[in-house]
């Protein structure tokens, strides 16, 4: 998603620049504020200074004033100056010159304040002296008569002093004539002269200094310096403002361009997103729809099943669809599937509570919600009729289909329906079947699964073991042979009989292993007991299992002395398909000296024709006949017939299931050669050392 990343980048730039704009605004605001405040502060200083000058002027005009005002104006000027130096803006290098100006202003200000202090000191004396002289002459008015000349001289001098003070010009004072020279005998007059001269001298001496100080104060450069300070600051600030302007413009352009870019990128993004959505939608469709029939697929079925409160499923399967594909090709098969899907769509598209699925190759599902079993059954039947009567026209072919429909509403929905379908496939009389618990299909399956698990465990733990049942020669009353019977030893020590697992094992690869184990273990036992013969049960599957026959013949070849004592019992209950293979098998065994026995004769596929084709040595009469010869005459007759036939064919008989002494005696009387059964012994873990038996 390069586009997306780019968008985020531009967005980030936009956000950063807008933040920067806000930041800039704050800086600018702060800057403007400081700038304004600084100028205000300079103005305040200027005003304070003007006020101070004003106070000084006032003070110099009046004889006496309230000097508090001067003192406070001085303090104010100092304060204003101090606050000016504290401005942070001055630390900025841009305002270095302004800072310098402030420093030079400080020198002048300090000097000015010192001068004012001096001025006040001088002023006091001069004013007091002037006031004194004026009062002095007033008090001495008696001189007008007594010493008129002295009075006039004194008055003149005072006038000069007053003029000089009024116009602030030293030239009004006659420097050669400011003292009263005459001496008087009159103590009062002399006192007048002394007092006059004291102050006159003081004035002449101090007045020039006073005037100079006053002029210095009033003609100082402070105004010019402040004006210069303002100008310098404003021009520095101007360049700062310019820089801020440029910065603001740049920021704004970045912001606008990122905004523009975002819009373009966003439009692009929308376009791509639309494409993506389309792709996603088609992918989604293919995830839940079958591409051939455009019905929902199995995946969709599984998820939809969970959403339905009262599901009912019909599974429809084409009978022998494999052959259509094989004969006409997949093209035709696919077209038929599509056409069948169309039939389903036509039939169910108007129903709101039905949804169609293609569950597998030729398996379709109709999933209903909330429908009665009866209703579903009727629908299924209608559907089957419709399909059976439909002409499937593919290219120039016209085909007819048979279909089976299983109906189920009991959880697990799909599994039960599948099982029902399997049952249905075995029974061609009906085409629609409703699942019900009595079918017990489910428990069978469960048991089968458990048994397979047991077999697997037994194979893994070497618990497939042979048990040996003695076979007695009825004439000699001696054990001549042991039949090896397969058992599975369970974990709790109990034994599992073959009828519980052997049939199931035939459908698995374990069967091969079981037979192989039986051969190996029986051979081992035969080696231990050379006085006995042994027999092993072999089925048609074993004979056709070339791997197994190879193992068998190889081990017989390696143990030839045992081989001649090992007999093979062929299970008569099985139909012998491949006669040639059996013939070949028997021939090879005979070469080792083995004998061949037909097992369970008298039931199932009993077929006398075998005896004409196969070289059989012994016939074992089925237990269902043997156990009842004493009570059922017909069974007795069957047994004697088989015995006679066997003797005629030069074959000996073994009777199984001998459970009472009476049966054993009867068999002996008839002339049956061998017998086995619980009367003599149940199957044993090991053969007996003693071969004697009492009948």
């Amino acid at each position: 998603m390069k586009l997306k990343q780019l968008m985020y980048l531009v967005l980030a730039i936009g956000i950063i620049s807008s933040i920067a704009i806000v930041y800039f605004y704050l800086i600018q605001k702060d800057f403007t504020k400081q700038h304004r405040e600084f100028l205000l502060s300079v103005n305040a200083l200027e005003n304070a200074h003007l006020d101070l000058e004003h106070q000084i002027l006032q003070n110099s005009i009046y004889s006496y004033t309230n000097q508090d005002k001067i003192a406070s104006a001085m303090i104010k000027t100092e304060e204003r100056y101090n606050s000016l130096t504290k401005f942070e803006i001055l630390n900025n290098p841009t305002y270095k010159d302004t800072k310098k100006n402030i420093h030079s202003l400080q020198k002048n200000l300090n000097q000015n304040l010192k001068n004012i202090e001096d001025y006040i000191m001088l002023n006091a004396g001069i004013k007091n002296s002037l006031v004194f002289l004026n009062r002095h002459i007033e008090k001495a008015s008696y001189l007008i008569e007594k010493d008129r000349e002295l009075f006039i001289q004194a008055s003149k001098i005072i006038k000069h002093f007053n003029d000089a003070r009024r116009v602030q010009d030293l030239d009004y004072i006659n420097r050669d004539n400011f003292l009263l020279n005459s001496k008087s005998n009159n103590a009062k007059t002399q006192s007048f002269i002394d007092g006059f001269n004291l102050h006159s001298k003081y004035l002449v001496k101090r007045y020039p200094i006073f005037l100079k100080t006053t002029k210095t104060i009033l003609n100082n450069d402070i105004h010019i310096l402040i004006e210069r300070l303002k100008q310098k600051f404003s021009s520095s600030a101007m360049s700062d403002f310019k820089a801020l302007d440029i910065f603001a413009f740049t920021l704004f352009s970045v912001f606008i361009s990122s905004l523009f870019l975002i819009v373009i990128l966003f439009l692009n993004y929308l376009k791509e997103n639309k494409k993506l959505k389309e792709t996603t939608a088609s992918l989604k469709h293919s995830l839940s729809y079958d591409h051939l029939t455009d019905l929902h697929n199995r995946r969709a079925f599984e998820s939809n099943l969970l959403k339905i409160s009262k599901p009912h499923l019909l599974i429809l399967n084409i009978d022998g669809f494999k052959y259509i594909n094989d004969i006409y090709g997949n093209d035709v098969g696919n077209i038929i599937l599509q056409e069948l899907a169309q039939i389903l769509k036509d039939k169910f598209s108007s129903r709101e509570n039905a949804c169609l699925y293609r569950l597998g190759g030729d398996e379709f599902g109709v999933l209903f919600n909330n429908i009665s079993d009866e209703n579903a059954y009727e629908i299924a039947k209608e559907l089957v009729n419709k399909i059976i009567n439909h002409n499937f026209i593919v290219y120039d072919l016209t085909l007819h289909l048979m279909v089976s429909v299983a109906s189920n509403s009991i959880v697990p929905i799909l599994e039960n329906a599948d099982l029902t379908l399997k049952v249905l496939k075995k029974d061609y009389t009906q085409r629609v079947l409703q699942y019900h618990n009595n079918l017990n299909l489910q428990t069978d399956v469960k048991e089968n699964m458990n048994t397979i698990e047991l077999i697997k465990a037994a194979v893994d733990d070497d618990k497939i073991i042979p048990y040996f049942q003695p076979i007695i020669n009825l004439k000699t009353s001696k054990i001549e042979k042991y039949e090896a019977l397969v058992r599975i030893k369970l974990k709790d020590g109990t034994l599992l009989s073959p009828y519980k697992f052997l049939d199931i094992s035939k459908k698995t690869s374990y069967y091969h292993f079981i037979t192989k184990t039986m051969i190996e273990k029986t051979l081992k036992m035969a080696k231990e007991f050379p006085q006995y013969r042994f027999s092993i049960n072999i089925s048609m599957i074993d004979i056709l299992d070339t791997k197994l026959t190879h193992i068998l013949f190889t081990s017989l070849d390696a143990n030839q002395d045992i081989a001649k004592r090992l007999d093979i019992e062929l299970l008569e209950s099985e139909d012998i398909h491949n006669l040639a293979a059996v013939k070949d098998f028997i021939t090879k065994l005979h070469a080792f000296g083995s004998k061949i026995l037909i097992d369970d004769f008298g039931t199932g596929y009993s077929n006398f024709s075998y005896f004409s084709d196969l070289d059989i040595d012994l016939v074992k009469i089925d237990g269902s006949i043997v156990s009842e010869i004493e009570t059922d005459n017909r069974k007795l007759h069957m047994l004697t017939s088989i015995h006679k036939f066997s003797n005629g064919m030069n074959m000996k008989n073994v009777a199984e299931f001998v459970e009472t002494r009476e049966v054993a005696l009867l068999l002996k009387e008839i002339g049956v050669e061998y017998a086995q059964g619980y009367y003599f012994s149940q199957p044993l873990e090991r053969p007996l050392e003693n071969d004697e038996v009492t009948i």
Binding site: N66, Q67, A71, G125, R135
Partner: protein, 306 residues
């Protein structure tokens, strides 16, 4: 309209009077000032617990010392007469030579002076922080658990700010509330006519400028006196001092920086001779003194409270 005009004119006239009365409605943080009062009177602010602010600024004697020079740490003598602490907030600068710009700077001076309190801020902080009483009082005023030297000074200054003596007869006269007696009035006129007013003006009738002691006739000079020249380094400023206030002057004898005048008569004679270049008639002296006595104000309110 005419009324306002008359008021304005009278205000202008009033304002032109070189002496202004002490305001009667000053604002003071009373709790802080009371705390300051306690500190002002407490000797723990001196190293040997001998000296308090009040030792040299006797609150019952016009806020000044009746001795020529005060004794401080280890009975060491000061080098100048203690000026009054009353109305000191209206002085433009503090100390005789104006070396302190305000009362806080002033208060810091004697505390650290080896001949006065001989203390340092750290010891003061230790001492007040060890006192449960001060800790409680400061907590009430400052809501703090640690007392700083700055707060100590601030409290003392607040107390000093409360030490004003308003409603003197002269202030009342200025406010047109009473008439002065003939002698008092004559004394004031002489005070103005002879030029005393030139330096003694403003709210404190002094305390707003520096002047040389001995303008016309040189006054006895001692080199080690802490005069203005010690600050400005200007030789012309020898014997220059801050003009002292004349408020409550009748109560703050002895007079001048050196305490050389034991009473007002002597002080007036010296002033006339050295700073005015004249000689007062006996009658004039009496009249001036009766005027000066009108400057005695009310005892500061904060001292009335216990």
């Amino acid at each position: 309209m005419i009324k306002t005009l008359i008021l304005l004119i009278s205000l202008t006239l009033f304002a032109s009077e070189p002496i202004s009365p002490i305001p009667t409605n000053i604002k003071v943080n009373l709790a802080k000032a009371k705390l300051g009062k306690k500190l002002f009177c407490d000797t723990i602010l001196s190293k040997d617990n001998s000296t308090a602010c009040v030792s040299c600024h006797n609150l019952s004697k016009g806020g000044a010392d009746s001795n020529v020079v005060s004794s401080g740490y280890a009975h060491n003598k000061g080098n100048i007469q203690s000026p009054t602490v009353f109305n000191s907030r209206y002085n433009f600068k503090q100390f005789w030579n104006g070396r302190a710009g305000n009362l806080t700077e002033q208060a810091d001076g004697p505390i650290n002076n080896p001949d006065e309190h001989n203390m340092d801020p750290q010891t003061i902080e230790e001492r007040v922080n060890n006192s449960q009483e001060y800790k409680k009082l400061f907590k009430e005023v400052y809501s703090t658990s640690y007392i700083t030297y700055k707060q100590v000074l601030e409290s003392i200054v607040e107390f000093e700010n409360a030490l004003t003596t308003p409603n003197s007869r002269f202030d009342k006269f200025l406010r047109d509330e009473i008439q002065l007696t003939k002698d008092e009035k004559d004394g004031y006129i002489i005070f103005k006519q002879y030029g005393c007013i030139t330096c003694h003006n403003g709210i404190n009738i002094g305390g707003n400028s520096f002047q040389k002691m001995g303008t016309f006739l040189d006054y006895e000079m001692q080199d080690d006196y802490p005069d203005r020249s010690k600050i400005t380094k200007n030789p012309n400023h020898k014997n220059v001092f801050k003009v002292p206030t004349l408020r409550n002057i009748s109560k703050t004898a002895p007079y001048f920086h050196d305490g050389s005048a034991k009473n007002l008569k002597e002080a007036l004679t010296i002033m006339a001779k050295h700073n005015l270049g004249i000689k007062f008639e006996t009658e004039e002296v009496e009249k001036i003194i009766s005027f000066l006595k009108t400057l005695d104000g009310e005892q500061p309110k904060i001292l009335e409270e216990i």
